[in-house]
Symmetry: C2
Subunit: 438 residues, 2 copies
Amino acid sequence: MTTLRIAGGRYLTPEMVVETGDVLVDRGTGKIISVGEVEDGEETLDATGCVVMPGLVNAHTHAAMTLLRGYADDEPLESWLREHVWPAEAQLTAEDIRAGTDLALCEMIRSGTTAFCDMYFEEPAVAAAVEEAGLRALLGHGIVTVGKDEEGVAAELEEGLGFAREYRNASTEESVEGESWVRTACMPHSLTTVAEDAIEECVAAAKDLDVPIHYHANETEGEVEPIVSERGIRPLEYADDRGLLGDRALLAHGVHLDDREISLLAERGTGVVHCPASNMKLASGMAPIQDLLDAGVTVGLGTDGAASNNDLDLFDELRDAAMVGKVAADDASAVAAPDVLEMATRGGAELLGFDSGRIEPGRSADLAVVDFSASHLTPVHDLVSHLVYAARGSDVRHTICNGEVLMRDRELTTLDEDAIRTEAQKRAMGLAKRAESG
Amino acid sequence: MTTLRIAGGRYLTPEMVVETGDVLVDRGTGKIISVGEVEDGEETLDATGCVVMPGLVNAHTHAAMTLLRGYADDEPLESWLREHVWPAEAQLTAEDIRAGTDLALCEMIRSGTTAFCDMYFEEPAVAAAVEEAGLRALLGHGIVTVGKDEEGVAAELEEGLGFAREYRNASTEESVEGESWVRTACMPHSLTTVAEDAIEECVAAAKDLDVPIHYHANETEGEVEPIVSERGIRPLEYADDRGLLGDRALLAHGVHLDDREISLLAERGTGVVHCPASNMKLASGMAPIQDLLDAGVTVGLGTDGAASNNDLDLFDELRDAAMVGKVAADDASAVAAPDVLEMATRGGAELLGFDSGRIEPGRSADLAVVDFSASHLTPVHDLVSHLVYAARGSDVRHTICNGEVLMRDRELTTLDEDAIRTEAQKRAMGLAKRAESG
């Protein structure tokens, strides 16, 4: 057993208070041993002038979309999807997905993210990338049935549910130790892109495999309207009828929700992943986050894909969530800094089913060490405020996941960033070329 | 005459296109000599892998409010001002203002800002700080008459207009060369905090001194309503009646504007400084930026003070302006990246009356050199998109103002940042203590 002492700084408690003290980590089990006044470690990681916080959880993304970062900005949503993003995605190979995911992993580790939830294609390539990088992830194939014939739907379900079955490693805390940190979920893409009976198959498979279920819902008005007009009920009432709500379900976006839907989410224990930057950039709207918090819904934060963000730095989402939450609520006291910080740590970890997100003995040692020796983080009246409103990904000095140091003094330890950047650039250019001629 | 060649990279043209080439600067005059294929310089600044862009212009801030960064977040606007910010500001000394401004200058140089507009108190201390740092600034004392007796109003006007008179250096391009880069403006605080006759005195003084006039307007609903109910006209109709509109006028915020007011701004040539982060954080609302652009109004970008932001990194405002502009317009194609970049460079420079904001021969050499060798700026489909949506202040490698290198390879050359941070921390703690006991 090797122990690592993160020493000389301060740390964020589960009560969202910053205390002076160290964090001692067991690198064998990947767990936190003690916090505050701790024993010496066999190894030391300097945290002088820093705040140790739980590693951030990016609870909704499409990692390999880094290849499409800045590919088609400032387009109306429909033409963005139909003329640019979908044609490009149709050209993606497993090698492209691997290259884009590797790039996303570099960016996430650099900005203090230690766990993420990915919905995309070619997920075995994503799983391999995650294992090599050493992050924690909940992965799933985004199952789409719209536009497919019977055979196509069967193949899509087999690919999506097959991945969840094959890569499902463990869903209980005990069996995670020393194993892969990849877990799987069933991920029907959305309420409008997956047929009713295919949704039911996904729900049954998730139950059978004992894995979470993740999907897009109520992101745009244009997604709500057809369900209301066709079925005479709100989308989340439809979701509830199909078994898509429940305490293992997490939906992305939830921008357009009425009071009944918010109550349903609270009653069923279903989580919402808030993606404020993507919702602004695609003009989808502003999610009623304070209402969700008031109702007791667990909220996580996500970047969504890099094409609608355009980065994977969750410190941006911390700031965006607080700011857009206030405008949406017409109240400067809404969606306060500690609530936002909780979404990005404990909230996301709970939704993904990981035992991280809180700095306390026995929890997974998934940590970000944020350096406060910068002008934009001076003076210090309130460290929690600074983490939300003033810090950025580039202030993260070290990133630790499962007790392993993935970034030390801004240097990545598990990934060859230069090679990954070169490969991503090459693959992105090839992809754009094929999409334009295809 | 010394020449400086910024070599090996690319540069942003006034047409918002990125070209490969160098920028040659005359350090004697502080002007750009040539761009693209240029002659050798006596000195060289490496820009390999970088994009040289015009230095950013922070067109509305209260620089010394860095001392109140994170001091009272997540409070409703009224109690934020009355119970926290105003009591703290009442305790500010000239030494505090100097310390807070020095800190702001470090932060601005670090994030590629080369010019700013400051409305605050003790402006001679701000002018001294600006001269030492080597930035360009338009400075003014924020004149407030509300709550003051006749004598108090006279003293306030004397201080505010006296500063504009005394520190007014030059307002024509010819006479700026080799002189101070500090200019002044008359700055009546807002339409609701300055009495009608005092506004008229400010307007007359601005005309007499041939300086701009700058004020807050239409920031919140609560600021619009009293003018409408008392006078039966919209705030900018009132402003127009008092002579506050015109092509030397720039107003901050302009969140709540009706069509008539937008037309008035366009007709009079009055500029608007958009402060998207502050407007979100204080739940003031979302400014109709696409409507202003469509009407032909010159728009600049500002951070506002650090207490309502909480940083002075204009790269955040670039992203915020594009994103919130889309939500406000309910259109993902609104407030596009090149428009936003223009606001933060040429737009702001024009509003402040500086000859910068464009990289072309003869213009002031106020430049930010942005390093693109980072994962979050990979791959490159569109460099302009990356400058707006993905780059952050920490990607700025060098900052140049008036031909002088103020930051080289992330090291400040004119300011002692460690000493400034220590002093700011000390003064901020003293200020908070006095405000709480005062």
